[in-house]
Amino acid sequence: MKKIEAIIKPFKLDEVKDALVEIGIGGMTITEVKGFGQQKGKTEIYRATEYVIDFLPKIKIETVVKDSEVEKVVETILKSAQTGKVGDGKIFIYNVEETVRIRTGEKGESAI
């Protein structure tokens, strides 16, 4: 099993979620995070003074999938999250050693 972790632009969340559901992803967990990267921070103005905000709002999507599904999921995220502009985000893939469904205690791929 692999964990696919995608950092995306917040307004893309609905699109990505719908796309993942469509290919049959059964679950995911999302977190509001802030990102720093090549995308320049934005400027805010308070009392006629400009401040650069380095960290921009991003959404982290985490979904654990079977090894066989990794490619499809990555493709789907790529397609649905891309705007082509800097700051679109990243996908990171990690190995998951074990998964347990709390409700039933099931383990392994069937627990996903």
């Binding site: 103005i45 308070y46 009392r47 006629a48 003074t49 400009e50 401040y51």
Partner: protein, 433 residues
């Protein structure tokens, strides 16, 4: 606020229509309690109370960093509470008791001694009790305003000592000079609702505090909740009708004119600040609108009962434009850390308003005030003298108070506490859970 203006005035307030009818029968010229005026003063005093809590507390609180929100609110809260208590004990008497050499009032009203529900404030048609209450709310907001310059690093316990000292040694004498038949009122200075006594005074006191305290580690303005600031600004605008129109001490035509002048200047200043910021930084900000509104309210304060709507509009424009530069250009240039610009907005707009009152006072609005434009250039000089002497006295005395308190108990929190945030360190609380 009106000082004694002779019998005619009171008669007018006692009900002109009445007078005309009973004319000859009217022998006794002692003013009588007027229920309409008293109703208005009960309301106006409540309005000004609201200005400090929650008005100013939220206006300032919204601009504070999230970790300092409650502490910022607490400074206004305790400013109001402490002033309330010492005011009825002795401060009211020192400010509005019988004049002693033009400098201070006597102790006739100590503990509100001898005042009953039947006592009217001299030369008004309203009870002494509500006049005292009305004045109380002015004193309280003045010291609360000053806190804007010094948040995010001030020791809370020090504030509890500074407030009574500052009210007693600075606010009380200045209020006496201007409104308690003191030397500035003899001079003929025009200050309808407290441009000098409240705003210049608070602004320079804040600056003095900021200088003694030094800069915060992080001087960036990171408003934790801009909506709170707008809520506060809205409540301040609302309450300010009590502040300005209430200063007429009667529900009459001049109060109505002050209401309209206040609204006009405020609206204009909000627009002016917004446009200025837009031109300088490419965007019209909502914090700018709120800041402009407050600057307008401050600047129209001394002028509100004297100027016509054209005067109000000009005052609004000046008040909306100039402070943009004091807060964004002068402050970084000179390097003082006036956290929420009590000086940059209140001090500066208060000063501008004081001078412009001398320019725009229109005798057809209020015979008591005649400005430069109506052939009395001398008024501008008087206004300058009043403004400068208040500034000097308040600044020097405030420096002394902050310094002395610093020597005795320290006024700045430890660096790690400043970083952790004063809500948690000083109060053991978190604003949002």
């Amino acid at each position: 606020m009106k000082t004694f203006r002779g019998g005619i005035d009171m008669l007018k307030k006692a009900g002109l229509g009445f007078l005309l009818l009973t004319g000859s029968a009217f022998a006794d010229t002692t003013p009588k309690l007027n229920h309409g005026d008293t109703a208005w003063m009960l309301v106006a005093s409540s309005f000004v109370m609201l200005m400090t809590l929650p008005g100013l507390a939220f206006f300032y609180g919204g601009m504070a960093k999230k970790k300092d929100l409650l502490n910022t609110i607490a400074l206004s809260f305790m400013a109001y509470a402490i002033t309330s208590v010492i005011w009825v004990l002795y401060a009211y008497s020192l400010a509005f008791g019988k004049d002693v050499h033009g400098i201070i009032g006597n102790l006739q009203y100590l503990f509100m001694n001898g005042v009953t529900p039947n006592s009217l404030h001299p030369s008004t048609t309203v009870p002494e009790f509500i006049y005292c209450g009305f004045q109380l709310t002015f004193a309280a907001i003045t010291v609360a305003l000053a806190s804007g310059s010094i948040i995010e690093r001030l020791k809370f316990s020090a504030w509890l000592v500074i407030v009574p000292l500052w009210i007693t040694l600075i606010y009380v004498p200045i209020a006496h000079w201007v409104w308690g038949n003191g030397w500035l009122s003899q001079l003929g200075a025009l200050d309808f609702a407290g441009g000098t006594v409240v705003h210049i005074n608070a602004g320079v006191a804040g600056l003095a505090g900021a200088l003694v305290l030094g800069k915060r580690k992080n001087t960036q303005l990171i408003p934790n909740n801009v909506a709170y600031t707008i809520l506060g600004a809205g409540l301040l605008w609302f309450g300010w009708f009590g502040f300005n129109a209430g200063s007429e001490l009667a529900a009459d035509g001049i109060a109505s004119s002050a209401w309209l002048a206040t609204n006009t200047a405020t609206a204009m200043a909000a627009i002016a600040w917004m446009i200025t910021e837009w031109m300088l930084h490419g965007k019209p900000t909502t914090l700018g609108m709120a800041s402009g509104a407050i600057a307008g309210l401050v600047a129209i304060t001394p002028a509100s009962g004297y100027v016509n709507v054209i005067g109000s509009i000009v005052i609004g424009i000046v008040a909306g434009v100039v402070p943009v530069f004091t807060v964004s250009w002068l402050k970084p240039k000179l390097g003082y850390d006036d956290s929420l610009d009590a000086f940059g907005v209140h001090g500066v707009a208060g000063f501008l308003g004081a001078i412009l009152t001398g320019v725009f006072a229109d005798p057809s609005i209020n015979p008591a005030g005649k400005g430069l434009l109506y052939g009395n250039p001398h008024q501008v000089v008087i206004q300058l003298i009043a403004a400068m002497s208040t500034m000097t006295y308040s600044f020097v005395m405030s420096l002394i108070i902050f310094k002395v308190v610093d020597i005795f108990m320290g006024i700045r929190v430890k660096e790690e506490d400043e970083i952790e945030g004063l809500d948690s360190v000083a109060h053991g609380e978190t604003a949002y859970n």
